[in-house]
Symmetry: C2
Subunit: 377 residues, 2 copies
């Protein structure tokens, strides 16, 4: 069964994930122009869209390569990209899948431990494949990354001694910058100082980084102001979301993604219930915006999803005179799009109020193997 191109939204079974194709194109073009204007290497993170169709569009717009978070994503993306960064330390069974990537894929891995270096080196040697390595630094988020530059030097040295691994540079993710104190200018200056110290330290030890890979969504349009950065890995910009708009990294009109939902009940006064709950919208809070719900209507941002069950979203009608009827469709901009895309198998491209095309979220699943000769309980 298929849906004809040009069908109205009403033809879609809800909840359904919609992407405004004109906004998507504008977002792709804008980021590519920013990157080339500042001579930054654009290596977008595919975690947001998880679709080869969108990755191909990013590459066509001038991305130098792709960033992925898992070997399963790398495998899928290797069908469209030949230069992949796994921005995640791979250990254990993940390495087998990584080494099975096509031989002509230029592979880079970011890591932060000697154990990860040794496991990767052993796998790369056994597979006879060169692997580039970024040493991951913690510049303040305290998630992953080495916290002392001596450790960074020690890891770079270990990598250099473990052919076919190749030390290629350093990576960082300043995910803390949104919560940090001070003005944006002050935060960027502090980041430049921290990063500059790291670059100087590793360079002095003989490990000048060929690549300095970093950046984050709150500062994405200021990446060129972080001294030393040569490459950045934006993800959210293709679709954007309520959080991206709230922190000023995009305008509301740049939100290309929404969840189409249907009003299914209006029996309780003051609210309307839609068929998009936590299994369609995720449950990601608007950080720093207490009580602001789980998503807002694209065309009525004053109407928020105030409560959710798994398949129910409660629209709070207290700030609107609008009273929807059962059967009416609405479009919800979620708080965090990457989580929502991960819940879907199909994206519908829309233009001029109609369904134009669709594409699979083909890197969504973890594509795990079955157990041989197994039967369920």
């Amino acid at each position: 069964m298929t849906i004809p191109a040009g069908a109205p939204f009403a033809a879609l079974e809800t909840p359904a994930a919609l992407v405004d194709l004109d906004r998507l194109e504008r977002n792709l073009t804008g980021m590519a122009a920013y990157a080339s204007g500042h001579r930054l290497v654009l290596r977008p993170h595919i975690k947001t869209h998880k679709a080869t169709a969108i990755a191909a569009a990013q590459l066509a717009h001038g991305a130098a390569g792709l960033t992925v978070a898992t070997p399963a994503e790398a495998r899928v993306m290797s069908t469209v990209g030949r230069d992949l960064l796994l921005a995640y330390p791979a250990v254990g069974p993940k390495l087998a899948r990584l080494m099975a990537l096509p031989g002509d894929v230029r592979l880079t891995v970011a890591l932060d431990s000697a154990r990860a270096v040794e496991e990767l080196a052993a796998a790369a040697r056994a597979a006879g494949r060169p692997v580039r390595v970024y040493v991951e630094l913690d510049v303040g988020m305290h998630r992953v990354g080495v916290t002392a530059w001596d450790e960074a030097i020690a890891l770079a040295r270990l990598v250099a001694a473990r052919a076919p691994l190749e030390y290629a540079g350093i990576a960082f993710y300043p995910g803390h910058i949104r919560e940090a104190e001070g003005s944006q200018e002050a935060k960027l200056a502090a980041l430049s100082t921290a990063l500059g110290g790291a670059i100087e330290a590793v360079s002095r030890a003989g490990f000048a980084p060929g690549v300095v890979s970093g950046g984050s969504t709150p500062t994405v349009w200021h990446t060129h102001e972080i001294a030393g950065v040569t490459e950045f890995r934006p993800g959210t910009y293709v679709y954007n979301d309520r959080t991206t708009a709230e922190i000023g990294a995009c305008a509301w009109d740049d939100c290309a993604f929404s969840v189409l939902a249907t009003v299914v009940s209006t029996s309780v006064p003051g609210q309307a219930v839609i068929d998009a709950g936590a299994k369609a919208l995720g449950r990601e809070p608007m950080r720093g915006a207490e009580g602001e719900g789980w998503g807002a209507l694209l065309d009525r941002p004053e109407v928020v999803v105030s409560r959710m069950s798994e398949e129910h979203g409660i629209l709070d009608l207290s700030r609107t005179d609008w009273r929807p009827e059962v059967g009416e469709q609405v479009r919800v901009v979620p708080n965090h799009v990457c989580i929502v895309v991960h819940l879907n198998d199909v994206m519908y491209g829309v233009r001029d109020g109609a369904v134009a095309n669709s594409w699979p979220v083909d890197a969504r699943g973890r594509t795990q193997p079955a157990v041989a000769a197994g039967s369920a309980a």
Copy 2:
């Protein structure tokens, strides 16, 4: 590629969803015994496991039928069950999929609006298929359901006048009972009173309910104490989770489900980072347990996932002397299992520390149609 039965957990690429088969069997048996002991019709909700393999096991253990939340789930479950309740008001394109169910499926729909009755009646007439209807009541949760019993009577009357629809009874979901004030006994008594009033009102109007379908996880083992209930729809009991244990509806040792994860970084002191974040664990809070994180280790419940990114979970090591190494595997019991299962395509059945079998989460996706002749942006 497959994994041999009997393989150690270390053979699995993480994160991976594990189900302890012995605990699963015990949970299935226990609920079936409770239902038959109290002469309650057991119609489990498949939203928790979304797998025909588990639904078949529930039916084999004496379930009279299955409950689903979406037509897509109904379609998949119709391959194993012949008596399906859609506990959700279907309007719009959902009805086409519903009417396409095999003709020998006994179908019931719960709804709360005249609009839903009229749409369902039109679809049922066109398809020539009888559909049983439960009128949904709001007994205090304020999500869906009619709030005045006059409205319930009006809906029952409308259904009775719209053959091939058949008025079959009433349904309710007391999801508010956890937050309600007072002792469990008092809450159950209040619920019995509210429900009793509704049953009396509709009966007096000539719509005595053949079925009274209700119950919720916090009161699941006390369903027989709610006066009038004939059928219940438990979901979580097959796997259980941290919340179910916290509210006393199961013991910690009844938690059959866990997410296997690998420690990928220990570079930041006081914590260990695992490869299960919000895309593997969901972000469902422990209601009423502020700061208790997003999951706890099965074998060390004092260790919680205190922070998450999409693919990173931060284990807080402040309450343990245990210091894991990179590469070590752990098992996380999530706060809310239904959301986590929805993130997975494969479940691994485990027994005696080894992987025994696997089954697909075959009702996970919404199985939405592609757009004809479409191409991505």
